[in-house]
């Protein structure tokens, strides 16, 4: 504590340089946090996927449909608790920019399988009775200011095209933090009645609820073996593996983000390291005097490190605060283009840790130089 005055006095020695360094740190932290949030958004599906669920798609690909009869056959496999099926609807609400995923669901089994997506019972019962009914995720409902009872016009180019108006019967919430609340669910019966012949009595994919997560491998194998050598072979995998594979369709997001993050890290290291090196070089004589009057090399190293860590932490916290304010705004602007952007507590902690690491490393080299500096040589330079 008694050294705080010395540390802060040195920090404020060059105010403009301090402000610029902290500013560059803050901007870099905003970028770092944004990248981390985007990475987390893409991998969130994997993180929140149910450990006790399998996704079954056509072996040929996700766009290939499977007969609805698969459902009953899957149900006979030991270890399977429930099965539901989905279709991709691919509709447009008012404008293509207003993208949100629309799924045709199997109302009888949806709630048995997707247990974390909660709809109040009265709303769900209304939905069951309404063949033109729809359930929207809370995020999508909020985005378009929908309320229950609204009629939602959706135009689709798939399945023969056409436009329909759906009744918003309910709004679901996810019980899992970060869960997807952007989906829009439609009745399978209505869809099947109006679908063209090749699409009738089909499912886009099945979601299988297991008795136990331990059965995942054996059940997945049993499902694929059951339909092996049929016209509609399947590919079954855990929900997290499916989500990871889906995210990979966008390219290697993780590598891209890690590369940009790495560049940010090293740039920041150079900026702060350079600031600290200049700062130490400017006051070699003063540091030598400190050592002459009895401050140890370690104390001098501590002073330099403390300065760089304070710069990094102030810049880091400023950057994280800016990110905290900006990311929701960016998230709204990018709705439909990116998964929901969420700045979690763990990302904030990671940001502070990142700032701390940069602060320590950037102060280390000039600090060690100051620690090892020979007083006699340094005083001669004054």
């Amino acid at each position: 504590m008694k050294f705080l005055g010395l540390i802060f006095a040195n920090l404020f020695r060059k105010k403009l340089r301090l402000v610029l360094t902290i500013g560059s740190f803050a901007v870099a932290l905003v970028l770092f946090t944004f990248l981390a949030v985007v990475k987390s958004a893409f991998s969130r599906g994997t993180e929140i996927a149910g450990a006790d669920r399998l996704v079954v798609v056509s072996r040929i690909g996700l766009t290939q449909l499977m007969p609805i009869s698969h459902r009953d056959k899957i149900l006979t496999i030991p270890g399977v608790k429930a099965v539901t099926h989905n279709h991709w609807f691919g509709g447009v609400y008012q404008d293509e920019k207003n993208f949100f995923p629309q799924f045709v669901i199997d109302p009888e089994n949806q709630r048995k399988v997707m247990t974390e997506l909660v709809v109040p019972d009265d709303q769900w019962n209304n939905f069951l009775k309404d063949r033109m009914g729809a359930i929207a995720g809370a995020r999508t409902a909020a985005r378009f200011h929908w309320k229950i009872g609204d009629r939602i016009p959706i135009k689709t180019t798939l399945y023969g095209g056409g436009s329909s108006e759906f009744n918003l019967d309910g709004i679901y919430h996810s019980e899992r933090p970060g869960g997807d609340e952007s989906q829009f669910w439609l009745q399978w019966k209505y869809f099947d009645e109006n679908a063209p012949a090749p699409v009738k009595s089909t499912a886009g994919w099945y979601v299988v609820k297991l008795n136990s997560p331990d059965d995942a491998v054996s059940v997945a194998k049993a499902i694929d073996e059951k339909f092996a050598n049929s016209s509609f072979e399947t590919k079954s995998e855990t929900e997290s593996a499916f989500a990871a594979g889906f995210a990979k369709q966008f390219g290697n997001i993780e590598l891209l983000i890690l590369t940009i993050g790495g560049v940010v890290f090293f740039t920041l290291l150079l900026v702060t390291g350079n600031t600290m090196a200049i700062s130490v070089r400017e006051r070699v004589g003063e540091l030598a005097v400190l050592k002459a009057i009895g401050f140890s090399g370690r104390a001098v190293l501590f002073f330099v490190l403390a300065e760089s860590v304070v710069i990094a932490l102030v810049g880091g916290i400023l950057g994280l605060t800016l990110a905290y304010l900006l990311i929701p705004v960016i998230g709204i602007a990018l709705t439909g283009l990116l998964p929901p952007l969420m700045l979690s507590k763990s990302l904030l902690t990671l940001g502070v840790g990142f700032a701390l690491v940069v602060g320590v490393i950037s102060g280390l080299l000039p600090g060690i130089g100051a620690m090892r500096m020979r007083v006699v040589n340094a005083l001669r330079r004054v």
């Binding site: 008694k2 404020f12 004589g285 003063e286 400190l290 009895g294 401050f295």
Partner: protein, 245 residues
């Protein structure tokens, strides 16, 4: 009594025996100090003069534990500093040596008070005790009213007074002054020398001072000349059989 023949009494405050310092520059060896002996008692005021490059500052650095000799020993208050590790020497300096530099070497971003307080930050004194010590030191040098001024707000003479206050605040065993008036006008130089002289006479401080200025050197009890690495006596108090009273 100050002696340079190595025959001083064994309880002298500072005892230097057979001190050699050789620098290596390129492939060449430069011997700065040769077989140097010195005895300084508590309360002595010694001046060192000599041409540039004669080894005055090197001797001061060795006495202050900032540099290590090639051969020989330095003993201060019974502690042989030439055997000490770097960490031990740092601690020893904090306790025993007060440095006064030609360029004052104050920290420009700290006030006079904070500059003087620096050596006390290494002690276990409480904040209020430190304040008392700093105020006393600044009063001794006549700058109690300028304690909240930054070095840039002080004249050269005042800056050197602050540097002196910093050197004496922890009550060190001896003071090392490296051309303390070298950057000052005559009037300021006289004031600084008066102050150093008062520290010796009133407060019993032991002072070793390097200077180029014969007027300044006259204020010392004895002035020793360094020539070609050898220490030669020429004190105004008269040299007797290698010793001066």
């Amino acid at each position: 009594m100050i002696r340079v023949d190595g025959s001083g009494k064994s309880n002298a405050l500072i005892q230097v025996r057979g001190l050699d310092k050789t620098y290596r520059r390129g492939g060449e060896e430069i011997q700065v100090l040769q077989r140097l002996n010195l005895d300084v008692d508590k309360g002595d005021f010694v001046g060192f003069m000599g041409p540039s490059g004669s080894g005055k500052t090197t001797l001061l650095n060795l006495l202050g534990g900032l540099d290590v000799p090639t051969h020989g020993s330095i003993t201060v208050a019974s502690d042989e500093i030439t055997n000490m590790s770097s960490n031990k020497l740092t601690q020893w300096r904090a306790r025993h040596v007060g440095f006064i530099f030609q360029m004052y070497n104050l920290i420009p971003v700290l006030t006079a008070f904070q500059n003087v307080e620096l050596p006390l930050l290494l002690t276990k004194l409480s904040k209020s005790e430190r304040r008392k010590h700093v105020e006393t030191a600044l009063s001794v040098v006549g700058l109690a009213e300028r304690m909240n001024h930054y070095p840039r707000q002080l004249s050269g003479g005042q800056e050197q007074r602050v540097a002196i206050a910093r050197a004496i605040v922890a009550d060190p065993t001896f003071l090392l002054c490296d051309e303390p008036t070298g950057d000052l006008d005559r009037k300021s130089a006289d004031e600084i020398m008066e102050l150093i002289h008062r520290l010796v006479k009133e407060y019993g401080k032991t002072v070793l001072m390097v200077t180029h200025d014969p007027v300044v050197a006259k204020r010392a009890d004895l002035t020793l000349h360094l020539e070609k690495g050898l220490l030669v006596e020429s004190g105004q108090l008269g040299v007797t059989a290698g010793g001066v009273a």
